[in-house]
């Protein structure tokens, strides 16, 4: 029984995946139409999965409230704001002024403030790196960061002096040549890794959907 169900799920994933992948490289009407339908179904399924995720989030926090676990007040707050936004969004749509007010005055300021905190966190992390790991790579990392930061300062960008010009040119050289070279290697490595992982799923070697 176990072998039977596993084969069905794996076959479904492999067939669906190969048809979608073929659509990237073969412009044959039948493949393109089938691929479009499969992608359409997957988008609908993903949206349904979002609701299952929301349900799971609600259940997890509801159980915290019902068992009065430490910090249950935060869970209650989360549920109130989740339901409030969701209900308003379902009734009026996400583009309605009421929902946009919640987005503008609750979500946006927290997002920007979290980004703002990152400034302090990054400076502290950089300071600790210099303090604890004084090897060549750390020095290269922080040296590059320092040159790029100094080279982007407004008085350097609009400055005229020889030192300022050299700093600006060094920044441009590092970001356009050295950093691009490293980033391209990383990007290609990530793409190769993603391709390998994806192909393992498409060949049925990895089955993250369960047996």
């Amino acid at each position: 029984m176990k072998i039977g169900t596993y084969i069905i799920w794996a076959a479904a994933a492999v067939v669906v995946g190969i048809v979608v992948l073929l659509g990237y490289f073969i412009e044959q009407p039948l493949i393109l139409e089938t691929r479009a339908s499969l992608m359409h179904w997957a988008v609908i399924l993903a949206a349904a999965a979002v609701f299952m995720g929301l349900l799971n989030l609600l259940l997890v926090h509801w159980s915290k409230i019902s068992t009065q676990t430490k910090g249950w007040g935060y869970s209650a707050l989360l549920i109130v704001f989740l339901l409030e936004t969701l209900v308003l969004g379902l009734i009026f749509g996400p583009d309605h002024n009421l929902v946009l007010l919640l987005f503008t005055y609750l979500q946006l300021p927290v997002e920007i403030s979290l980004m703002a905190i990152l400034a302090v966190v990054l400076v502290v992390a950089g300071y600790r790196l210099i303090l604890r790991r004084r090897d060549m790579l750390s020095m290269v990392f922080m040296g590059t960061a320092l040159v790029v930061l100094l080279g982007t300062l407004p008085w350097v960008v609009s400055g005229e002096g020889a030192i300022i010009r050299t700093l600006g040119e060094m920044r441009a050289w590092i970001t356009q040549v050295w950093a691009v070279a490293g980033a391209r290697g990383i990007l290609l490595g990530v793409a190769l890794g993603a391709t390998t992982t994806g192909l393992r799923v498409l060949l049925g070697a990895d089955r993250p959907y369960g047996d």
């Binding site: 359409h40 609908i44 969004g89 980004m115 050295w178 290697g185 993250p208």
Partner: protein, 235 residues
């Protein structure tokens, strides 16, 4: 006090309070920060659900059924996703979870194909093409120097950096014929060079992220200053 307190004014005050609550994390984790983040998660999750409903579920599932009645279910583009959604609901219970594996398999299959296709057509081919084009002076994607000598030097750095960074990611063992001592030594040098290039790339990214974060921090302080000025001005 202003004669009529507008919704926008209340919103600004709430925004300012949330900003202070989040920034309070700088003195350590505290209840104010947790309140702000839980509100954030609640609103973000609710908004995501509303967008998923409004952009996908309602136009593709609910509206066709409402418009065409149950006869609309004869359309495979409606019937199959509906069956898959019902099967996905089986995942909620451990007893029936196995039946929910089919929609998950469809999702994973499509996702894996999109990842592979996207990686090949969106990264591997364009990045390799950009690396090749940089050899030709007029077609180079970025300015690699005015003089031919400068251009050649920069292209060499680009190629060395790309190849050595890729070699650094090579973790599998080599066949015994290749893993002779000189080859191993060259690979070791390339790996070390690759680490230097990766450190430079991350250093540049770090500086970029730090600058963006500093701008966000300055914007928040400017916003708080503006609110304080408005409040003081209204009294």
């Amino acid at each position: 006090m202003p004669e009529a307190i507008s919704l926008d004014f209340v919103g600004m005050i709430v925004s300012a309070l949330l900003t202070i609550m989040v920034l309070s994390y700088l003195i350590g984790d505290n209840p104010l920060f947790r309140v702000a983040t839980h509100i954030f998660v609640g609103v973000a999750a609710g908004y995501a659900g509303a967008v998923a409903w409004d952009s996908v579920i309602r136009p593709n599932i609910v509206s066709p059924i409402v418009t065409n009645g149950l006869g609309g279910l004869l359309d495979l583009d409606l019937l199959i996703p509906l069956i898959l959604i019902v099967m996905l609901l089986f995942k909620l219970s451990p007893v029936t979870a196995k039946l929910g594996s089919l929609p998950m398999a469809v999702l994973v299959g499509v996702g894996a194909a999109v990842v592979v296709g996207g990686a090949i057509t969106g990264t591997l081919i364009p990045q390799s093409r950009a690396a090749m084009l940089s050899f030709r002076m007029p077609e180079a994607p970025v300015d690699l120097g005015a003089s031919p000598l400068e251009h050649i030097l920069n292209v060499l750095i680009l190629v060395l950096g790309t190849v050595s960074s890729l070699v650094y990611f090579q973790f599998s063992s080599l066949p015994s014929k290749i893993s002779s001592e000189p080859a191993e030594r060259i690979l070791a040098i390339l790996r070390t060079t690759g680490r230097v290039f990766i450190a430079v790339a991350f250093g540049a990214r770090y500086a970029g992220a730090l600058m963006a974060a500093i701008i966000a921090l300055a914007e928040r302080f400017q916003f708080l200053g503006g609110i304080v000025t408005d409040l003081l001005g209204s009294f």
